[in-house]
């Protein structure tokens, strides 16, 4: 019924902009709760993923990039490096969500795997350039060490280091967001899409 704006439109509604700080807040509390519960995953991109599902790739990408820049400039400069990864997570989730990948649980699972893979692909060159291949996750870095010892090239070892960290993390995160998204009332879901159409009565 609503005439949808193109999902790539740069003219963002106020609601979509207001969603960005909330998304970044959700990233933060997700990470806080996950570490308080000592979960073995980061779970630090729930907000970015949700914002992308709700408001599309541009808002999702912006939320991702701003998230890491703000952390970089207020807590931990290292996280700025991954602004590019967050940007890609936002764009991929947003674009795929808007083209039907949230229609079923099965598709959402595949979306989770795709997002994890994209995150690993984007992070690998960053990890190699900035820290010689590590991710900072003990298990991933242990795998990196083993693969290097076995004579695999750095890029491949580092990619697997990222894969074992990012795929479970993003897979779980996307599924959590999928269930939250499904549970949201329609007026919230439609709030951020913009292009509110007025019909004459």
């Amino acid at each position: 019924m609503n005439k949808q704006k193109s999902m790539w439109s740069l003219r963002l509604s106020t609601a979509a902009l207001v969603l960005i700080p909330v998304a970044i807040g959700i990233n933060y509390i997700g990470k806080t709760i996950a570490s308080a519960l000592k979960l073995p995953l980061w779970i630090d991109s729930l907000g970015t993923i949700l914002a992308s599902m709700l408001a599309g790739p541009i808002v999702g990408g912006l939320a991702g990039i701003i998230n890491n820049i703000i952390y970089g400039f207020t807590q931990d400069p290292i996280s700025t490096v991954y602004a590019i990864t967050s940007l890609f997570i936002g764009i991929v989730v947003g674009a795929l969500s808007y083209t039907g990948w949230l229609k079923s649980f099965g598709k959402a699972c595949i979306l989770g795997l795709i997002v994890g893979l994209v995150a690993a692909i984007v992070s690998t060159p960053l990890n190699i350039i900035f820290w010689g291949g590590q991710t900072g996750n003990v298990w991933g870095d242990a795998l990196l060490a083993v693969m290097l010892k076995e004579g695999y090239p750095v890029w491949l070892a580092s990619f697997f280091d990222s894969v074992v960290v990012d795929i479970p993390d993003k897979f779980v995160s996307v599924l959590i967001c999928y269930f939250i998204f499904k549970g949201l009332p329609n007026n919230v879901k439609n709030l951020y899409r913009g292009g509110q159409k007025i019909e004459e009565l």
Binding site: I24, I26, Y28, L39, I43, L148, G151, P153
Partner: protein, 254 residues
């Protein structure tokens, strides 16, 4: 209440133009990656650290370094022991051999990281976030993005205190947050769900509140706060950008 590591001090670094500091931060953090030379990276690192000393904030930098300590140690281990180019043993630690080639790579990476942290520190510790945001908006960044950044700094402390309240409430209702992994995973949704729902629903009201206060105004935004006079303005920014371009040119013709 406020999410910032800013330390109020009276120093020449504090009084410098936020945009110049930001430009310095980016140029200084990136250039050692363009010019792969130990001595060069080391000099830039010393420069960043001296700016911190000049700003009287070096001591506040230590927790930020410590945050990255794990990363730095793993770099030494991974590169020093496992790097594919390793051939020349340098020393043994028990049964483990550290190699010269790997350690040389590790030392360059570590200098670059410490330099990057310090360069960020120059901005983080000596610049008020509002000054930086306002300066960026005056430089042409969208005021709407300026709003977004400014409000993140307020919303995160608010949401984390909300989490504290909900954690206490759910625990007192008998939610188990300790024990087996499956128990802890099950606790995640009841803890985070309510905060997400509430904050999403609140976005509608906040958008309304902003719209009725001219948030979408097409007119050029003005600023309540008095124009602050900063040292080291535009010429220094240009100089830094020239250095950056110079580094790229050097790399291409090298």
């Amino acid at each position: 209440m406020k999410m910032t590591l800013y330390v109020a001090k009276n120093s020449i670094v504090h009084k410098s133009d936020p945009i110049t500091k930001l430009t310095y931060c980016l140029v200084a953090a990136i250039v050692p990656y363009i010019i792969p030379n130990h001595l060069f990276a080391f000099v830039i690192m010393l420069l960043s650290i001296s700016l911190l000393l000049l700003g009287k904030v070096f001591r506040k930098m230590i927790p930020i370094y410590i945050l990255s300590l794990f990363l730095l140690i793993t770099i030494v281990i991974i590169q020093g022991i496992f790097h594919p180019d390793n051939v020349t043993p340098l020393f043994m630690l028990g049964p483990i051999t550290f190699y010269q080639e790997g350690l040389l790579i590790a030392s360059l990476l570590i200098i670059r990281i410490i330099n990057m942290l310090s360069a960020f520190g120059v901005v983080i510790l000596t610049t008020q976030p509002d000054d930086l945001i306002e300066a960026l908006v005056k430089k042409g960044m969208s005021p709407r993005i300026g709003y977004v950044i400014g409000s993140v700094l307020q919303i995160i402390p608010q949401m984390s205190s909300m989490v504290g309240t909900i954690m206490d409430a759910q625990r007192s209702r008998g939610l188990e947050t300790e024990g087996k992994l499956s128990t802890r995973i099950k606790a995640f949704i009841p803890l985070i769900g309510p905060v997400i729902m509430n904050s999403l629903i609140a976005t509608r009201e906040r958008s309304i509140a902003l719209e009725i206060r001219g948030f979408n105004s097409k007119r050029k935004k003005t600023f309540l706060r008095d124009e602050k006079e900063f040292l080291f303005g535009k010429p220094y920014q240009l100089l830094l950008i020239l250095c950056f371009i110079g580094a790229i040119i050097w790399r291409i013709f090298q």
